[in-house]
Each structure stands twice: as structure tokens, then as C-alpha cells.
Amino acid sequence: MHPILAQLRRLLFYLLGWIPLAGMLAYLLAVPGNLSWFEAVTVSSILCLLYAFVCLAAWYPCMATPLERSSISRFLFTHVVGAAVASALWLVATRVLGRMLSGFDEFRGISVQLTQDYPLIFGTGVLLYLLAVGFHYVLLAVEASREAEARVMQASVLAREAELRALKAQVNPHFLFNSLNSISALTTSDAVKAREMCILLGDFLRRTLGLGEKVAIPLEEEMSLIHAFLAVEKIRYGARLQMDETIDKEALEAHVPPLLLQPLVENAVGHGIANLIEGGWIRLSAARRDGELDIVVENLFDPDAPPRRRSGVGLANVRQRLQTRYGNRAKFATSIDGATFRVSISLPVEIKERVS
């Protein structure tokens, strides 16, 4: 479909662009030519309106002769022939118009007078057509760049979505390996506890699998996922791991992206508690304030702990997910206060009707 004919707005703008051209033609017909101003304006208006549509046909030769992939000879041949044909058609139209108008009293003898202007009209027709060719090439270039831009946008959106899906589906495999090792230890010493741990681990895994598809879940659901995770870790770390929660009732119904907080708690365990001989606490607090949900995850850590690989990846992921989803409306900050590591998040409160 022709891009100008596709939208009425564009067509109107295009025709507006022809008004000065019609004015120029009228001038040529009246001043160096031999028509009166009234005759010149009438003839040129009708002719230009017609020719405006004829020139739209330049779109097709332009498409068939792309600038960067056509030889110069072919380029010249196509458009010169196109201009000659279009202008010849225009001349025929002029002749027919002259005949029709001479029937009116106001335009008596115009047919003969116009015949003298044929060279002028033909030349103008060729120039106007070539102008249209140039215009259509610009149009094509704009379309192409817009398309390329859209493709890039779409690719980046797709990539981001894929990344998020992968993130959401991610369960740290080392958490699994270590948990399985604990279960393996318990099988001989405490079979009941081994079974309990299998069930807890299964519960956690099932919850994370189900979340991959969802865009947002109530904080309450995220918290029960965290409880399942900590229940497993509690068996591994025993008394070394203490959890402390302060969560407002109204914060629980606010929606958060799934698995947003679980990696933070996992980080707190892996980089904080795991490095402390006597263990330590993790504190999670959430509150609603002026349409914002403020969440703080704090944990003790050992500033002199051996350096760990991959540290910071989990935090960077959370930060990026917040940025992608909320842009400037979400805040993410980390701070160190003595032996306490703190992640503070604030995001706009979203509450959805419960869909069952």
C-alpha cells in the first residue's frame, strides 16, 4: 500500500504541499504565457490536483529501483521514461481540459491559447515528476529507518523478556546440591528429619516453578516462598541462621515481581550467615507509605570473609529487574553499616483483584 494513500492525514498534507506548486504554474501561465490570471489559476489548480495523484505513481518505480542497489543507467532510464510518460499524460489531460473549458463563456478560446503553452506545461510536468521521485526516495529512506528501529526495539524487548524468564526460573543449583547432601546425611541418622527436608525442598521447588509464568504476585506469596527456602536452609545451618520479620498487614497484599526478594534472602544466607562461625540474623521488613512499598533486607556479615566468586550478581539482577519494570519509580540501594549489610527497595504499590 502506498504510504501516503494509507492515511487521510498524510494525503491532506501531501496535497497542501502542491498548493505552492500550483501557484507557480499559474504564474507561468499568466505572466510569460498569455492567459488571464483567472484562467491561469483555474487551469493550474485543476491540472495540479490531477498531477498530484499521477505523481504518487512514482512510488512504484522508486521501490523497484532502490538507490543503493541499482546502476546509474538503469536509475536514469527508469525515471526519465517515467517523467516523459507522466508529463505526456498530463499534456493529454491539459488538452482535454482546454476543450471542456472552451464550452464556457469565461474561457472562450482557451483551447488555442493553451496549445501555445504545451512546451511549458510538458517541461513543468517533467520537473514536477522528478521532484516527486526525490520525495518518494526520502519517504522510502524514512520508512526503512523506522522499520529498522522497530526491529531493534523488538529484539531488545524479546531479549529482555528471555532474560527475565531465565532469571525467574533460576534456582541456585548449589543450594540444591548442598541440600541434597544434607538429606543424604540425615537418611542414616534421622530418617524422619530427612523426609521432612525432602518435603520442604519439594515444596520450595514447586513454588518457584509455578512463578515463572507470573508477572507479579502478592508479597504474601513471595514471603511464603521465602519461608519455604529458609526452612530448608535452617536444617543445614541450624542455630546459625535466625530470621526476623516485621511486615505490615497492608504490605502483604501489595504485588511484587515474583522471586524479587528470594535472591536477596539467598544472598544474605550465602554471603552473610555462611561466613559467620557463630551465625547471625537476617531481618526483613516491609511497609506501605504514601503509595510506595518499602522493603529492607538486612543481615550480619563478616567484613573479613574470604572473597567469593559471583558475589553481586544476584543484587545486580534484582536492580535490573526493578529498573526494567518500574524505571525511575523504583529505588534500589545497598549500604554497609559496620557488620550489617542492607538492601533497601521501594516500589510503587500495585494491588490487583484476586483472580482465582
Binding site: N178, S184, A185, S189, L276, I277, D302, A305, P306
Partner: protein, 256 residues
């Protein structure tokens, strides 16, 4: 180190998780030739146990509080049999480069455990040659080039000090040792100065002399000393000799 036939293999288990130690203890209980002399829950304890008890065999977790498994091995010396036990498969190459007997992945299977133990017993009975090269030489070579030390663990008897490299003023070669000077205190470590040099970030530390590596942040000025030589004056007032080659390197660094 070899164990005479008929004598029990003195073994230490190091893991910060009680349940992980429990599995190893259970597997080991089926081997009468093994005597568990200690269980440690962190790196510091492990170094202390190794120094006091001189075990033949260690089961070492890698990620632990205070010191990681590689740092423990570096401090206790490589001349004993070590089996790493970890959930991470990413350290395997490094583990063999520090001449670990084996590398077990959690969850550990009984069969795989027995195979590892057999290899350890072979090494201890002298059937296979033990590691000829010091563990830390290889630990340094196994380090990816972009990853330099950010702390140096040092052992003094049974206690361990950790020197963050930012607090290291300079290092001085002393026979088979390097003296690491930090805040006016000297710590001796069994390591060659070249080895230490290769483990430190070259944009922060420079070998200014055959026997000296200096922390560039501590250097206040360089003064001529004698005909061909210079001295570097550090912020604490200490003066270190600078060789001709060292001076060229120092100039190149300062001109940059």
C-alpha cells in the same frame, strides 16, 4: 608425608556444616585404618588443628567462614593428602593444580568417596609420588590473570593473620621466606618473593629491588643514594633500596 603400614591414618574433617561433616564421618567409620583426630567448622580452626595435630589426611570444604579451603591449604603446606569436598564444580582444576588427592562433589556417593580414600591411602603409602611443587606456587599460577590477591593469609604457629593487600606496606625477601610489613608489624610467610610479586596487582605493587616489593601508595619520594642506586622513602619514614632496574620501572610507572 607417608604413613607406615599398620599405623592409622590421622584424619581431619573440615566443613562448616554439621550435616556435611556427619556424612563424611559416617563414610569414614567403615574404614578401620582411619582415625578421625578432629573436626573443624571453619578455616581458622583447620589451620590450628593441622599445626597441632599434624594429620595425614584432610577433607576440606572450599567455601567456609574466615578462610576458604585453598587458603587453608596454602597455610598448612601441601605435603599432606587433601581431598576437597564441595558443591561447586568450578574449583576442580585449581584443586588438582594444588595437588589435591581428589575432588568430591556434594552430594557425595559412598562409592566415589571410597575411591577417593583409596587414592589418598596410595599416596600416603608412597606408591604415588607426592606433590613436588609447593601448593601456593601452583595456586598462584592457577589464578586467572585478571584476578589478583586482595588479602594474604599468614600463619604464625597455630594462629592466622589476614593482611588485606591495601594494608601491606612492603615485602622483603628473607631466604625461603618473605617478610610482609604492615603497619610496622612484620609477618613471615614461606613463599618466594617472585611468587608473591606475580600474585599482586602490578598497578599497585612494584618490585623495586631483588629483595623488595613496595606498595606504590606508600612511596613519598625517591632519593639518589650512592653512585648508581636510589632509595625509596615510604610514608612511615622507612627507606628501601632501589636497584637500577627497579628505578627504571619506578620511573616508568611515575611518568605514566
Amino acid at each position: 608425608m607417608t604413613v607406615e603400614p599398620g599405623k592409622k591414618i590421622r584424619t581431619v574433617i573440615v566443613d562448616d556444616e554439621d550435616l556435611a561433616r556427619q556424612v563424611l564421618r559416617e563414610f569414614l567409620s567403615k574404614h578401620p585404618e582411619i582415625e578421625i583426630v578432629a573436626e573443624c567448622a571453619n578455616g581458622f580452626q583447620a589451620v590450628k588443628c593441622a599445626a597441632e595435630l599434624e594429620p595425614d589426611l584432610l577433607f576440606l570444604d572450599i567455601q567456609m567462614p574466615k578462610l576458604d579451603g585453598f587458603e587453608v591449604l596454602e597455610l598448612i603446606g601441601a605435603n599432606r593428602a587433601v581431598i576437597f569436598v564441595t558443591a561447586y564444580d568450578t574449583f576442580a582444576i585449581r584443586a588438582f593444580e594444588v595437588h589435591a588427592v581428589d575432588y568430591l562433589l556434594k552430594p557425595v556417593s559412598g562409592e566415589r568417596f571410597n575411591a577417593a580414600l583409596q587414592r589418598a591411602e596410595e599416596r600416603l603409602s608412597g606408591k604415588t609420588p607426592s606433590a613436588p611443587v609447593a601448593a601456593m606456587e601452583l595456586a598462584a599460577s592457577a589464578r586467572p590473570p585478571s584476578h589478583y590477591l586482595d588479602r594474604i593469609p599468614v600463619r604464625d604457629g597455630t594462629s592466622v593473620f589476614i593482611i588485606p593487600v591495601a594494608k601491606l606496606d612492603y615485602a622483603e625477601a628473607q631466604d625461603d621466606y618473605v617478610a610482609l610489613v604492615s603497619g610496622g608489624k612484620k609477618h613471615l610467610k614461606q613463599q618466594t618473593i617472585s611468587n608473591l610479586e606475580s600474585a599482586l596487582d602490578p598497578s599497585r605493587f612494584l618490585r623495586i629491588h631483588r629483595s623488595y616489593i613496595v606498595n606504590l601508595e606508600r612511596v613519598i619520594k625517591i632519593e639518589p643514594f650512592g653512585k648508581d642506586t636510589h632509595v625509596a622513602v615510604l610514608s612511615g619514614g622507612v627507606q628501601l633500596p632501589v636497584s637500577r632496574a627497579g628505578h627504571a620501572r619506578l620511573r616508568a610507572f611515575l611518568d605514566r
